[in-house]
Symmetry: C2
Subunit: 370 residues, 2 copies
Amino acid sequence: MQLKIDATDGTARAGQLHTRRGVLPTPLFMPVGTRGAVRTLDTDDLERLGAPIVLGNTYHLMLRPGAEAIAERGGLHQFMNWSGHLLTDSGGFQIFSLEPKVDEDGATFQSTYDGSYHRLGPERAVDVQVLIGADIQMALDVCPGLPAPDAVVVAAMERTHRWAERARRHWHEVADARPSYQEQFGIVQGGIDPVLRAISARAITSIGFDGYALGGLSVGESRQEMVPAIAAATELLPLDRPRYLMGVGDPAGLVEGVANGIDLFDCVLPTRLARHGTVLTDAGRMNLRNARYATDDQPLDPDAICPLTARYSRAYLRHLLGVHELTAMRLLTLHNLWWLARLMARCRAAIVQGTFESFRKDVLEVWGGR
Amino acid sequence: MQLKIDATDGTARAGQLHTRRGVLPTPLFMPVGTRGAVRTLDTDDLERLGAPIVLGNTYHLMLRPGAEAIAERGGLHQFMNWSGHLLTDSGGFQIFSLEPKVDEDGATFQSTYDGSYHRLGPERAVDVQVLIGADIQMALDVCPGLPAPDAVVVAAMERTHRWAERARRHWHEVADARPSYQEQFGIVQGGIDPVLRAISARAITSIGFDGYALGGLSVGESRQEMVPAIAAATELLPLDRPRYLMGVGDPAGLVEGVANGIDLFDCVLPTRLARHGTVLTDAGRMNLRNARYATDDQPLDPDAICPLTARYSRAYLRHLLGVHELTAMRLLTLHNLWWLARLMARCRAAIVQGTFESFRKDVLEVWGGR
């Protein structure tokens, strides 16, 4: 994996992430395919969207259909019949939202599907992700909910560091045993305290991963709290490695992440909003359930016409949404993902042109209040 | 509207229904787009399927978004952005399942959306369907549930005849007032009694419609009860007009309908089955939830590979179904509609080749037990 930086503008950067599978243009938003499909979409849809990478969720996939089951089907690429990139998260975020029993060795948690108990530690998280077979896997981290007492944040961070060492060591063992095909990213923790984020960034980079993620952000804190924590970490991350801000997908958070040197993002927000009738537009959030759209023959965003949904009017989509047709959820999902991909392409173009700061301000003017 | 018969085989017939909009090959199964979309699909999907016609549901559309609202948006074709054919049912079937208050003038029923009261009679049903603007509209009929006492079936049939006369008269008034663009089909009632079906066929054909439908069948009676009722009606229907068996979409019912001279069918069955994980295949009904498919890498029906879903394995689709992904419901819907379109194309080919009887037996061998 090689990151070629095409341009920088302040700390923002536009690059090309070259992998064994191809090239990812950055900055890039990665749609989330939690259970092996982006909700309401199929692999054809992802290709039509031109999405170069999709996330799989380790927690969900290890429970349904099971990591071994996916491996038996040839891995997640073959299972979904998807030739683009895949990244799997470590499962940490979901597991720590389930109040697991955690000890130094790992975490025991209950399946939301059938209540059965499961165990995940740093080594098993590597193995599970090898079985799933994405192009990029994540080290297992400890994710405290925010706000949390300092001692909780520090303890989670320090355990994250110890688990990261074990995860990287095990990943090397696996990679030595057979030709390595996966990259592994480490995750920086440390809550919203810039000092802790800096400590964590140093600890994780000293282990040495193929890329670096910031975890445990966008979990309830304000954007004013989040941004300094991002900046404190990214200024210590190596310039030639990709940086991934986990769980951020709102337009303001995205441009602030890009401004602070982030290359990759993921979030369920745009797809979840779509299923609830909220449309991302150049004019801001649009609630399609609003009665005013019942007689509106325009496409979802006349300023940014998604080619996959251009033929449908707001009035028609509002009607389908109102009568609970899944069709509407899928079409709004397509639009929102297309719109976010376009936002990231515009970030990239602004960086290349050296106009990112004014682009950022324009986006924050529309989206910064939320 | 002109029906050109290309071939007959016994009472089965293969034709081309020429309309102002184009040509419909018959026999033909028409997918149901109840609320202005086939559930889980969009207009792009219908085009990919090659569906030449879709049904709209008058009852649902007059309540949401409202017939006037659709007319203001340019009619249902423009609302859905669909350039294929459209047919609207009269609303009778849904209304009579809601225990309406019925008098000679019409029926008063409650909206399932908000409990509000609405009134529909034969004239208003014409007007509502003019507003919706499909290519073909249906006369309002009285649909008793089966089994029903003879007196109820006879009374419903006789009122259906009186309403058909009023509907046709009003349709002519509307057509005279402005250039006619819609065809109107009359509906034969009469339960499962061949004598009543014959009486009804004579009464409805004596009024003179552009096409003839059989209503009130496939409502709980056995196929052995249904088929003689169909035969009794179709042998009295004019040869040069299309015949439409309403609400039949199971493979055995379809071939039996075709065998008895039916040209058009509709039913929500194939799409409803799909959403519940039941797949139509050449080997019969397949319950994709069955555990055996968890490790099955074949496409849904290896003997009949739908091009829109061919890239996905049974194992993958079963997984998506099991974790309640809407994606699976949509893909199975595409498969089932494709499979039924193929069944009808095979019926047509068998009629043209003069081998329909053996084709019918083959289909009944697989599907006849259900």
